[in-house]
């Protein structure tokens, strides 16, 4: 999996980036930070377990993560997936 593909997915989810040694990406919903993940600054492929670690931090299963990267899963779909897992309970208006 390419780093650029994951960065495009973060853009699609409107994640907020914090540039440091790596990029920390925060997902905010209804004004509240809900979760975060990180991705290397480098270009090229994500090696070894990194795609899996990012997927787990995003709270997605493998199929959902594939959809996120391949495009069908958008921000609204992601919010729905997090809601179903109870991650947005305290952020709901």
């Amino acid at each position: 999996m390419k780093i650029q593909e994951v960065l495009r997915a973060f853009d699609k989810l409107e994640m907020e980036m914090r540039e440091g040694r790596d990029t920390l990406a925060f997902f905010r919903y209804e004004g509240q930070i809900v979760l975060w993940t990180k991705i290397p600054h480098k270009r090229g492929e994500l090696k070894g377990k990194l795609p899996d670690l990012i997927r787990q931090q995003l709270r997605l299963n493998e199929a959902q993560f594939r959809e996120l990267i391949a495009c069908p899963l958008n921000r609204a779909g992601y919010v729905q997936a997090l809601r179903e897992k109870g991650f947005l309970a305290l952020a709901e208006p």
């Binding site: 920390l24 919903y29 930070i33 979760l35 990194l50 991650f87």
Partner: protein, 137 residues
């Protein structure tokens, strides 16, 4: 041959299959566990921030790099060596600490729990005015 013999043979075969499956499944899990090492992180190596209590870390070689995971913080670091992975994780912990501190009023449930843990664990040394501010979004 008794009527029960074929059934016993089938049962024996099923038991063997279950045993083989469990042995193979457990072997894989043991192999993964053997590659994992647990340790405690005692320092962030960052001016102005010190750890009151150590942070539990898991180190694992995934074949492509070493991964350092801090499960309590939902964070990981990586590098070609254990030292690099730990150093990367230290930087990430500092980045997260500073970001959560600056967004303390807009933390959801999970970030709030992590912040409470970090606030208990990380101490800001008074001789340093204010550790570097996190970049704002």
């Amino acid at each position: 041959m008794s009527v029960a013999e074929p059934q016993l043979r089938r049962l024996g075969e099923e038991v063997r299959q279950v045993r083989d499956f469990l042995v193979s499944d457990l072997s894989l899990k043991l192999e993964k566990l053997a590659k994992r090492r647990l340790l405690l992180l005692y320092s962030l190596r960052y001016p102005g921030l010190r750890l009151r209590n150590p942070i539990a870390i898991s180190l694992e070689d995934d074949g492509a790099q070493v991964i350092a995971s801090a499960y309590d913080l939902e964070l990981f670091g990586y590098g070609e060596t254990e030292g690099e992975a730990l150093d990367d994780l230290r930087h990430t912990i500092v980045d997260l600490y500073l970001t959560l501190r600056e967004n303390i009023n807009t933390l959801g449930a999970l970030p709030k729990q992590v912040w409470e843990y970090l606030a208990d664990t990380v101490e800001e040394e008074s001789r340093y005015e204010n550790p570097r501010s996190a970049a704002r979004f």
